[in-house]
Symmetry: C2
Subunit: 179 residues, 2 copies
DNA sequence: GCGCATTAGATATGACTTATATCGAAATTC
DNA sequence: GAATTTCGATATAAGTCATATCTAATGCGC
């Protein structure tokens, strides 16, 4: 028999996988899946000059015209400073407008421009293709079940992570938090 | 004093969620879920001086005694340089040993020490609790379905994005995996 | 045995993601 | 009208990962 050249891994048959224990945890698989998702979606969006995060921001702005940056940050579950650079980019490319809110001159009312809507349409198509690509091993039913399960998990996480009250006393405020 | 609080956006009633469109993509939810997972598991492991990644490395080493660093990197789907610092840490704390492989003096045979096994047992318990915590909104059946769906997605991604797995069997080509 | 290409691990570096702390300006409260 | 809070911006830093390159050791062919 031909002696095995270098690594007779044969893991497909003998060894289930070195990370078999880890694969019994959804958390581990979520992390692995996130890596797959990120690289694929970023590749899909790169031709459009977008990334996963800037696409997400654009999507929320398109769907919620006039929202403020803080709301956008809340929607995407990130801190406020994280969206500034993204909006700088989107705005400088003429995709979104930041107009001072009439009722609150500190705030910006965010809106997608015509070009923004245009790019968004293309990006949405690219992301839809990406979604089909990464979930092509799943039936539509399984994909929906996956989405439902992840939604529950995310909502549970949001509720759990708890109010990080930095004030102290007094009333309670609801806040989301993350990582 | 006015009860409700701050901004009468009224979006809670009108708009289900600003990211409703995004939530129809598993990719988006996976990213959001990953954030929940990471913060929770890291908090759970912090008392033990571990993170998600070092725990994963320890788990693979415990389950696959004698494996080399490159195999570990493959198992965790990361590049080789990324595990060096982790192993430096685990080794300096006496949790894993790096012994030169007898048949290949360039390579290290990784093994968990007694202390490593000990810590691993505790970490595994902590991670199991973490898993129960983040999936407590799901039935065990749904959790298993989630794991299965994610496994399919990850495997699809591995096959697609790039044969990083040199564990397959025979040759492998190089690609990128990005991220 | 002597080169040559390859492989294992280490180092250096950089991209990307995301959080905390703080500031100025505007808004709100008293 | 001063104090406090909120909005967005800036600065900084931590954490996650990849690529390129270096060193030793291996394997192969001559």
């Amino acid at each position: 028999m031909t002696a095995p050249g270098r690594k007779p891994v044969a893991r497909a048959t003998l060894d289930p996988a070195p990370d078999a224990t880890l694969r019994r945890f959804s958390g581990y698989l979520i992390k692995r899946a996130e890596s797959v998702v990120r690289s694929d979606v970023n590749a899909a969006l790169a031709p459009l000059g977008l990334r996963m995060f800037s696409f997400s921001a654009l999507a929320v702005i398109v769907d919620t015209p006039g929202l403020r940056q803080a709301h956008l940050a809340d929607a995407l579950a990130v801190e406020r400073p994280n969206i500034v650079a993204v909006l700088d980019d989107l705005q400088s490319r003429g995709l979104v407008s930041r107009e001072r809110a009439p009722d609150d001159k500190r705030a910006y009312a965010l809106e997608a421009t015509t070009a923004g809507h245009e790019l968004y349409r293309m990006a949405l198509a690219a992301v839809t293709e990406h979604e089909e690509r990464i979930t092509k091993g799943l039936s539509e039913k399984d994909r929906q079940a996956l989405i439902r399960a992840l939604s529950v998990l995310v909502e549970t996480g949001l509720a759990e992570t708890g109010p990080r009250a930095r004030g102290e006393e007094d009333e309670d405020e609801d806040e989301d938090e993350d990582d």
